[in-house]
């Protein structure tokens, strides 16, 4: 199978994951697995920056402790940290240079059985939200084409994260919509209750609840709930 064909298949697979019962962790896990295959790496991981600038591992090809440590370690030094700082891919850094730039990271890399590491940014418009890290047991070099493929995969990861955010925002708004509908019904029922028990018209009933709510610093919704379940009498409302 040609590289182009393999790449196309990966994109189709990832696109399917994006739409069908989307789970961001599954998605990133598939992404790291396929990245390793396409770019002849031996392990991969995705890290994201939190609002305080701390990196967190969100996906990796294995749960091997040394791999996770390698990823975490880069909060101090390593290709990911440099990648996040510059917004550019950090690839093909030779062993000698790596030892000089990231001595602790390079020692840990060797301890983990790897000889080289690459980092590709997860870009969102002008900022960098995280990075994909590739680890190789040989001193591998990525061609320009490889870097382009890696960047395309990283961009897909960013799309997946945006999708996750969009889905969760929709859920939040839908819940607000439900709550607003529930409130409206409750308030109308409470108005009706007051019309019956105090002989008020609909506007007076609402005014009474609103005044009480303001004075007692509770929401109109809460006042309406108490009126509807009759734990708040007309006299109490008026005395407030």
């Amino acid at each position: 199978m040609t590289n182009e064909l393999r790449l196309t298949r990966v994109f189709v697979e990832l696109a399917d994951t994006l739409i069908d019962e989307f789970d961001v962790l599954d998605f990133l896990s598939v992404l790291t697995d396929r990245s390793v295959g396409l770019l002849n790496a031996d392990a991969a991981g995705v890290i994201l920056l939190d609002p305080h600038g701390v990196m967190h591992v969100v996906a990796s090809t294995s749960d091997q402790a040394q791999l996770l440590e390698l990823l975490e370690l880069q909060n101090e030094e390593g290709p990911c940290l440099d990648c996040l700082a510059t917004g550019r891919a950090v690839v093909n850094v030779g062993l000698a240079e790596a030892q000089e730039r990231w001595p602790a990271f390079t020692r840990a890399l060797a301890d983990g059985g790897f000889q080289s590491a690459h980092a590709i940014p997860l870009r969102l418009r002008d900022s960098v939200v995280g990075a994909m890290n590739l680890f190789c047991t040989t001193e591998s070099r990525l061609s320009d084409d490889d870097v382009a493929v890696g960047q395309a995969l990283a961009d897909i990861a960013t799309i997946g994260l945006l999708q996750e955010r969009a889905v969760r925002q929709s859920g939040l708004i839908a819940e607000q919509l439900q709550a607003a509908l529930d409130n409206r019904v409750l308030i109308e029922q409470a108005k009706g209750s007051l019309m019956a028990s105090a002989g008020l018209d609909v506007d007076q009933a609402f005014q009474l609840m609103r005044t009480y709510s303001r004075r007692n610093n509770v929401s109109v919704r809460e006042t309406a709930r108490r009126v509807a379940e009759r734990s708040l009498s007309v006299d109490q409302l008026r005395q407030s």
């Binding site: 609002p51 969100v58 929709s170 109308e188 028990s197």
Partner: protein
């Protein structure tokens, strides 16, 4: 997982989700949802709400007699927010009045409901709705649930004057309209404040507000639970063959007395 906050709206760069990308369930055709949204947005501005425009567009595309969109709250109270025309609005309101019908079922059970011909085998399913809908000129019905994840928002009801059902391709298209309807509802409410309804959704709600007021009124006058008071209103509307809204008005104005005798609670 500790990283989820990274995906929150206030963390990192602010990206407004493209309404066309919002929540497309299953194997939805993304382009088509986007196309529907583009079409109805293109027609908006003439005073017709987006939910109405979506229903009209859906009826036209699928050659249906009527299409209606209804919001449902957690207690099952319904508000018709969109209709392709008068019949759609009547058939949807009818289901809200009698508390049964394909839209009610779709919204409650969160699944699609199909009935090919209301003149056949519909008596057990919808004893009140079916004959009334037939009288309004409706034979074939289907209804799709509108939901976002686990949140049930309501239903999209599809009605035709002849018996039969949508073929597979049409069903897919209907599903796409349901996804677009969700995007419209979420999009509208996304523009509103957290606790209030968007005006396009609040205005239709005002129409049935009187029913909830009469429910509260009756619950006090007859010492009933809200749900029992609503049933009493419904039973009266059904017996008198009148819209629930009319009965509610009469109860509030004192023209109609449904409670046996005056009771003073407090």
């Amino acid at each position: 997982m500790g990283f989820r906050y990274l995906l929150d709206g206030d963390a990192g760069p602010d990206v407004a989700p493209d309404p066309g990308l919002l929540l497309l369930p299953g194997d939805m055709n993304v382009t088509t949802v986007t196309q529907i949204l583009a079409t109805i947005h293109g027609q908006s501005g003439g005073g017709t709400s987006l939910p109405d425009l979506l229903c009209m567009d859906c009826a036209q595309t699928l050659r249906l007699t009527a299409v209606g969109m209804t919001l449902t709250n957690t207690a099952g109270h319904r508000t018709v927010v969109g209709a392709s025309g008068l019949i759609a609005s009547r058939v949807e309101e009818l289901q809200s009045d009698v508390g049964e019908g394909p839209s009610v079922d779709a919204s409650l059970a969160s699944r699609s409901v199909i009935h090919d011909d209301l003149m056949i085998d519909s008596g057990a399913r919808w004893p009140i709705f079916a004959p009334a809908a037939v009288a309004a000129g409706i034979r074939g019905v289907s209804a799709l649930p509108l939901r976002v994840g686990g949140v049930r928002l309501g239903s999209l009801g599809l009605y035709r004057s002849s018996p039969g059902h949508l073929d597979d391709a049409q069903s897919d298209t209907a599903e796409t309209y349901a996804a677009a309807a969700v995007a419209v509802l979420v999009g509208l409410q996304g523009e509103a404040t957290e606790t209030a309804l968007h005006p396009d959704l609040a205005a239709p709600m005002a129409y049935r507000a009187v029913i909830h007021q009469a429910t509260g009124f009756l619950s006090v006058k007859a010492s009933l639970e809200m749900s029992e008071a609503l049933l009493l209103l419904r039973a009266n509307a059904f017996a008198a063959d009148r819209p629930l809204v009319d009965v509610a008005h009469d109860v509030l104005s004192g023209q109609l007395r449904l409670h046996p005798e005056e009771k003073e609670d407090d």
